[in-house]
């Protein structure tokens, strides 16, 4: 049992989503022993997995907030990290479309807001330009605003890269460690009681996503409540991709950013999300009302998209707190930092949040000595359509024929890639994790052809005890 052996970690980070993994990676660069605790059996299995995967510029954040600053910095940090780690990023740009006179009237203020957020490349455009940029839009667009630097990425690869990087820098990833109680000892250490055993640490960072308020209460605080906001998404067939070569944004309303259309790095088109407030933190099912809402919206935004096949539908939960900003707070007495209320922008902001947390910890007295022996970032398998994938790579196939054996036809995933995922530093716990690492079974047939072969390969290659 970890902890029972007397190990005392310098820092325990609770939650291996994007934010937690980024923090663990950051801190393990400073000669600290770091444990990354995850309640589930895989990293990135909570809110991080059902993100819209947009790498935001932060143009529409509330100026002056922590979120505004961290999204802006994170956009830059993740952009360069993605290049180093081979995370697919496509700079598609976004077009915000005004459908009502009120929308249209709101655009100039949104451009000013973008400028207040340090982003000055937005441009207001007329309806003609709107339709020139996205000819498939439904009737009635009155005008728009461009956001040329909004990009799309792969949220799964970002999360996995950060966690893998943390691990190769020496952090320990502890899966199936849900924190159930917190105890303190006279020597200033904290004992985390978890479903995977006791974990002792000197400092604790709470990045538990939807569970952050619960964990915060275990530390004796009562300062915020997370209302899970369910967002349902429809993913359309790759044949729809020519319809949407950039992100199409609505003008933001009262309950979040509204329904958008976005290309995905996997070559699909996404429509969503809905936004419904929930009390059940496990309500990741899809609903009739959600589908009806998206159908209706889609029919108006882009009728031709609705003639294409739906490849997948997802429901994800976002951590809404009723606040307009992140809630990041250090408690020096407790040697504890709360990283709460990180909404969907957490994908973009994650690496900047990590730097921010690091500086908070330093302010609290945690000694930070930069390491000079850091390994290079991991080179992640490319899941993006815009970049070369193994099935296209003659040299790779010549060296290893398994990269020429396409197993998942729709997504063109090869036996070599499935093997690699199963034998990687952070192997999947099951088919869902494999989907996120390889795209296998994520395509239009949803496993009609390949489920059996993919499952066989996974069982053959997964190390004993990984499942």
């Amino acid at each position: 049992m970890p902890g029972a052996d007397g190990t005392v970690w310098d820092v325990a980070v609770i939650g291996a989503g994007i934010v937690g993994a980024a923090i663990a990676r950051e801190l393990s660069g400073f000669g600290l022993t770091v444990a990354l605790l995850e309640a589930r059996d895989d990293v990135g299995d909570g809110t991080s997995k059902a993100n819209t995967a947009i790498l935001h510029t932060g143009f529409d954040a509330k100026p002056g907030t922590l979120e505004s600053r961290l999204v802006r910095e994170g956009h830059r940090l993740l952009g360069s990290y993605a290049r180093a780690a081979g995370i697919p990023v496509e700079r598609t740009g976004a077009l915000m479309v005004a459908w009502t006179p009120e929308d249209l009237a709101a655009l100039p203020a949104l451009r000013e807001k973008a400028e207040a957020n340090g982003y000055d490349r937005c441009e207001l455009v007329g309806p003609q330009e709107v339709y020139r940029q996205v000819p498939a839009l439904g009737e009635g667009a009155l005008g728009g605003m461009t956001v040329p630097d909004e990009s799309i990425t792969c949220t799964w690869t970002v999360n996995l890269a950060l966690a893998t990087d943390a691990r190769q820098r020496g952090a320990r990833v502890l899966l199936r460690h849900a924190v159930t109680a917190v105890g303190t000892a006279g020597d200033g250490t904290t004992t985390l009681h978890t479903t995977g055993g006791l974990v002792r640490c000197r400092w604790t960072v709470n990045a538990a996503g939807l569970g952050a308020d619960t964990v915060d209460r275990l530390f004796g605080h009562d300062r915020f409540t997370i209302t899970p906001r369910r967002g349902e998404l429809l993913v359309f067939d790759k044949l729809a991709r020519p319809l949407a070569d950039r992100i199409v944004l609505p003008v933001p309303g009262k309950t979040g950013k509204g329904v958008l259309i976005s290309p995905t790095v996997y070559g699909n088109v996404m429509l969503g999300p809905t936004a419904e407030d929930f009390t059940d933190r496990r309500a990741t099912g899809t609903s009739e009302s959600g589908f009806a809402f998206l159908r209706d919206k889609g029919e108006r935004l882009m009728p031709s998209l609705m003639r294409e096949e739906v490849t997948a539908s997802y429901a994800g939960l976002r951590a809404a707190t009723g606040r307009e900003d992140y809630l990041v707070a250090a408690e020096p007495d407790q040697r504890y930092v709360l990283v709460g209320g990180i909404r969907s922008t957490g994908l973009s902001a994650g690496m900047a949040i990590a730097e921010h947390v690091r500086s908070l910890l330093a302010d609290c007295g945690l000694a930070l000595t930069p390491r000079t022996d850091l390994p290079a970032p991991p080179r992640m398998p490319n899941l993006g359509e815009a970049f070369r994938r193994p099935y296209q790579d003659a040299e790779l196939i010549a060296a290893d024929p398994e990269y020429g054996r396409v197993v998942c036809f729709c997504e063109r995933v090869t036996a070599g890639e499935i093997r690699d995922a199963c034998t990687s530093a952070l192997p999947p716990a099951g088919p869902e994790g494999l989907r996120r690492r390889t795209r296998a079974m994520n395509g239009r047939c949803q496993g009609f052809s390949c489920a059996a072969a993919v499952t066989d390969l996974m069982e053959r290659h997964l190390p004993a005890g990984a499942r």
Partner: protein
């Protein structure tokens, strides 16, 4: 390192009944034929249907699906066709050129003629937009059959089968072989779609109750399926049926990716390419056959399509052709589609001398008419019913008084 260039006379994409039959015919005609299939073994869908019912119309004897698949592959091979499996066509590199990924490397296939025989698949759950949780235990028939037949994996013990077509009964048989009881079949239609030959013994021998006029409105379960919610469409009344397995059958969509990325003219009804009665698509030298064109008809119908297309491809290889302009053939409700969709003067009758129609309602003895502008070209009463979920075959008249200069021909009920 670059791709290996292959230059067969004809390349067939898909080694199912249509592709293999076409390859055998073409090879016997002396053509150099390359068959590409992404699966490990040739044969297509019948490979996994481990029960009898195949081969009656083309092999003239009844065999099991796997035996039928093996037989077609062997015949094509013996005729001289080069069948390559684990060969995934990824995209077009020219009008009749294809890029292919294989474990042996990349191929650049440049042919005189291409036959698309990529088949069809059942719509999986997301495409049907059935809300609810995402538990394990929800399959399409194809998925179930690969799991049971190929992987010998265990399924649950109580299944709900969505659909009551021939393929749905195939799913029931597969479930039974895997030790899973079908507790209910559901169908949107007022009556089961399959032939009485399936439905009567299915209901009595297999003891499967059928809920007609219903739709599945929710799948529930954490981890594993626990229940489905079923709505009586007419009344809106809903009930919950406990089960640990759900099989979504039928609701076919053609595997049309290559057809669409080639820019072929597509049919809004079948969602496959538009073809004439010689099974030519809109691109010169590109033909199509099988369930890509009519999702779905039987394996034998696909095979006979393949033979039909092969004759026309052989003819094209022998002497270049310029097909005459055609007259579009359109389906009227209650038919969702008709195939083929283009009539050219001088062209042959369609495969097996039948036009295929997909009815959306049940009609006991349909009286069909074909009209061009205000002229009636054909009036015919069929002695068999039109039933949703299966193809209606209309025998091709010996001489259709078609006016090649007039408007489209519409086909519907009198």
């Amino acid at each position: 390192m670059t791709a290996q260039v292959l230059t067969p006379d004809a390349v067939v994409v898909g080694a199912g009944p249509a592709g293999l039959t076409a390859a055998a015919v073409l090879a016997r005609r002396g053509a150099r034929v390359l068959v590409l299939d992404r699966e490990d073994t040739p044969g297509g869908i019948p490979r996994h249907s481990d029960h009898t019912g195949y081969g009656l119309r083309d092999l003239r004897r009844l065999v099991s699906g796997p035996a039928y698949a093996a037989r077609l592959a062997e015949t094509a091979r013996q005729a001289g066709a080069d069948i390559r499996t684990r060969a995934m066509v990824t995209h077009w590199t020219g009008e009749r050129s294809l890029a292919v990924t294989t474990p042996g490397g990349l191929l650049d296939v440049r042919a005189e003629a291409v036959l698309l025989a990529t088949g069809a698949r059942e719509r999986p759950r997301p495409a049907r937009m059935i809300p609810g949780d995402r538990p394990q235990g929800v399959y399409t028939t194809g998925q179930l059959q690969t799991l049971v037949h190929g992987g010998h994996r265990e399924v649950g013990s109580r299944a709900v089968v969505v659909g009551a077509e021939a393929v749905s009964w195939s799913a029931v048989l597969t479930l039974r072989a895997a030790g899973c009881r079908t507790t209910l079949m559901t169908t949107r239609h007022a009556r089961p779609e399959a032939y009485a030959a399936f439905t009567v013994p299915g209901r009595t021998v297999l003891g499967v109750p059928i809920a007609t006029g219903t739709r599945v409105t929710r799948i529930s379960g954490r981890g594993r399926v626990e229940s489905v919610e079923i709505e009586q469409i007419a009344t809106g009344r809903r009930r919950t049926v406990a089960c640990d397995t759900v099989v979504l059958t039928g609701d076919w969509v053609p595997d049309h990716e290559l057809a669409r990325t080639a820019g072929l003219v597509m049919d809004p009804g079948t969602l496959g390419p538009v073809v004439d009665t010689a099974l030519r698509t809109s691109a010169p030298g590109v033909f199509a056959a099988g369930n890509l064109l009519h999702p779905v008809d039987t394996a034998e119908a696909a095979a006979l399509d393949g033979a039909h297309a092969a004759e026309r491809i052989a003819r094209r290889l022998a002497s270049p052709e310029t097909p005459a302009p055609g007259v579009p053939l359109l389906a009227e409700p209650p038919f969702r589609w008709v195939a083929p969709q283009l009539l050219r003067p001088g062209d042959p009758a369609p495969p097996r001398g039948r036009l295929l129609l997909w009815p959306e309602t049940h009609v006991p003895f349909p009286r069909l008419t074909a009209r061009q502008d205000d002229r009636t070209l054909l009036r015919r009463r069929l002695p068999w019913p039109a039933a949703p979920g299966r193809v209606l075959r209309l025998p091709w008249p010996p001489a259709l008084p078609l006016d090649p200069k007039a408007g489209p021909v519409t086909i519907g009920l009198a």
